[in-house]
């Protein structure tokens, strides 16, 4: 009998060809997918050129997504995107998406069935941990690791210890995946899970839909985590069935698996939460943030640019107007989400309210384009980072919250809960 293992240890052991692994062990794993984007691929491609092989190890297992500065914002970024496009063509990479089909990578890959449960995935992007929501091991690496992965199909890992977050009880109104993960990061800090895998379990997680689960795993890196993971269940099955392009594998933690630490969280203690500048861990309840006025609200990104996020925002914006001094930018994360939102009439609601709706892009999330902040300006965004200068000038500020809080804030002109809007209208 192998030692009892966590889901993360089981996936890593399977990909290392071992019966068992233990935290701290250095192993080499076979990879299912290697990802890079228009910022990280150019360096990965030049490093790949130094390996001394002609072809990538498997053109069906490399995914290249032009999303950060696309549609290209300037000549330099166009050159970077072209390096990746040319490489995709010469290497006959099947998972390359041109403008018009593309999306923000971490929304796109699960949606297209490219990443599946049980996978071992590296991506030259820190939010690669998003795919843990499928019950896969996925972690962010740099361009050089991605280059080695493209050449060999392998990567080395130190097996991480796991932290378990068991979430029980009932969620309050307007509390979702974003509030849960902001609450956790606020509790353990931006290095609270350093070098560790974050495993989210319990009845509250079991009731969450996939979009909320992706949001939670997406931000594992903001606590310093190597990965985030939620075990496969009927919700995962319903999501991947019909879209997975490969066989998937199901793993669960053994009941007696060993954790570095177990956190018991009562969901009823989680309020709608906002992270103040300049760290995602700088969290406060929204009710203590109502005095903060904003110049811009952004709804989108790999954290909260999915169809459920669009629907929640539209439900609050319907019949209302964006405050006169606020710019609201809505960015569906993929072309498919964009089409679906359009088909459901959500764009009519956004545009009626006075929002700008963009084609899929990372755009303002990393301060690239499509909504950069001037000196001293303040934004509330559904994105995942609020570091100094993240969305523009180093003196600008970013507050992080859910799509519900973002939509309410856009209408109120200050950080707000949806229920505040009716009260303010009644005054």
């Amino acid at each position: 009998m192998p030692r009892p293992m966590t889901i993360t240890e089981k996936i890593l052991a399977a990909h290392a060809g071992l019966d068992e692994v233990a935290p701290g062990q250095l192993i080499e794993c076979d990879l299912d997918i290697v990802l890079a984007n228009d910022v990280t691929a150019p360096i990965a491609i030049s490093e790949f050129g130094r390996v001394g092989v002609e072809r990538v190890w498997d053109p069906a297992k490399v995914a290249l997504v032009p999303d950060h500065y696309t549609p290209n914002k300037d000549i330099k970024s166009a050159e970077q995107a072209k390096i990746m496009r040319d490489f995709a063509r010469t290497q006959e990479i099947t998972h390359y998406w041109e403008i018009g089909c593309m999306g923000v990578e971490h929304a796109l890959l699960p949606e297209q069935g490219v990443v599946v449960p049980g996978d071992c995935i590296i991506g030259a992007d820190s939010h690669t941990c998003t795919y843990g929501a499928l019950g896969a091991f996925a972690t962010g690496v740099g361009s050089t690791d991605a280059a080695a992965g493209m050449a060999t199909g392998k990567a080395w890992f130190k097996v991480p210890a796991s932290l378990k977050f068991n979430i029980t009880g009932e969620l309050s109104p307007w509390v979702g995946g974003k509030d849960i993960i902001l609450h956790i990061i606020g509790m353990i800090g931006v290095d609270g899970a350093l070098y560790q895998a974050m495993e989210f379990t319990g009845p509250v997680i079991a009731r969450l839909g996939m979009d909320d689960r992706f949001t939670i795993c997406n931000m594992a890196i903001e606590a310093g985590g190597k990965s985030g993971i939620i075990a496969f269940d009927s919700t995962t099955c319903a999501y991947v069935d019909g879209r997975a392009e490969r066989e998937w594998a199901v793993y669960h933690s053994d009941p007696d698996a060993v954790y570095a630490r177990v956190y018991e969280i009562d969901a009823s203690t989680i309020e709608p939460t906002v992270a103040f500048p300049h760290l995602p861990s700088n969290t406060r309840p929204v009710r203590e943030a109502r005095h903060i006025t904003v110049d811009q609200v952004v709804i989108g990104s790999c954290t909260n640019g999915r169809i459920e996020d669009m629907r929640v925002a539209a439900s609050i914006l319907a019949g209302r107007k964006v405050a006169p001094d606020v710019r609201l930018i809505v960015i569906p994360a993929t072309q498919a989400i964009w089409r679906q939102a359009m088909g459901e009439g959500l764009f009519d609601i956004f545009v009626e309210a006075g929002a700008a709706v963009s084609t899929p892009t990372c755009g303002p999330c990393l301060g690239g384009h499509m909504g950069i902040l001037a000196a001293g300006e303040r934004a509330l965004a559904t994105t995942n980072r609020n570091f100094v200068g993240r969305m523009g000038d180093p003196t600008s500020e970013v507050y992080l919250a859910s799509p519900a809080v973002a939509a309410a804030t856009a209408v109120a002109g200050h950080i707000a809960l949806p229920e505040d809007l009716d009260q303010e209208a009644a005054r």
Partner: protein
């Protein structure tokens, strides 16, 4: 490898967005990236850093994005080694893979002030604060990681392995 230089000391959670802001990520040219190193944390950094200097920081250095532009800009700004209480894990990997020497030593960081002269013996893992005379021992790397460093980074070791096939 031995280095001696002036220490530039910063606090905890120095993130990759302040090390190299995204507005400069439309290029991967090391010289261009070096011009903007640490710009949003300390706009004077590039002006005062000299070749051979040492970057010192507290916990969680390099947190945030996976951009290798961060270690590249630090290295090409002239920094020989980064000493921190701890490193964010992607930055840790990236530094090893790209050949930017890093050392983990909470004691050394506590004992170094901004502007001190610091000498480092990367092979022995010793850090000496020349200004105060104190010596510290950094965490040793596991042999596997040491192997990558000794071969000159990840690509060099992969190249060796592919050639053996």
């Amino acid at each position: 490898m031995r280095f001696e230089g002036t220490a530039h000391r910063y606090g905890r959670d120095v993130d990759t967005d302040v090390i190299i802001p995204a507005r400069y990520l439309n290029t991967s040219d090391p010289a261009e990236l070096a011009k903007h190193c640490m710009e949003d944390l300390d706009a004077g950094f590039v002006g005062k850093v000299k070749a051979g200097d040492i970057l010192v920081a507290e916990e969680n250095f390099g947190c945030g994005s996976s951009r290798e532009h961060a270690p590249i800009s630090i290295k090409h700004a002239g920094v020989e080694v980064v000493i921190a209480k701890s490193f964010a894990r992607i930055f840790y990997r990236n530094a090893i893979n790209t050949g930017l020497p890093i050392m983990e030593s909470p004691e050394a960081v506590e004992g170094i002030n901004d502007g001190d002269t610091v000498a480092v013996d990367a092979d022995a893992g010793t850090i000496t604060n020349v200004t105060t005379g104190a010596t510290y021992q950094a965490q040793p790397f596991p042999p596997f990681i040491k192997g990558i460093i000794e071969r000159g980074g990840l690509i060099a070791s992969v190249r060796e392995r592919m050639a053996d096939r």
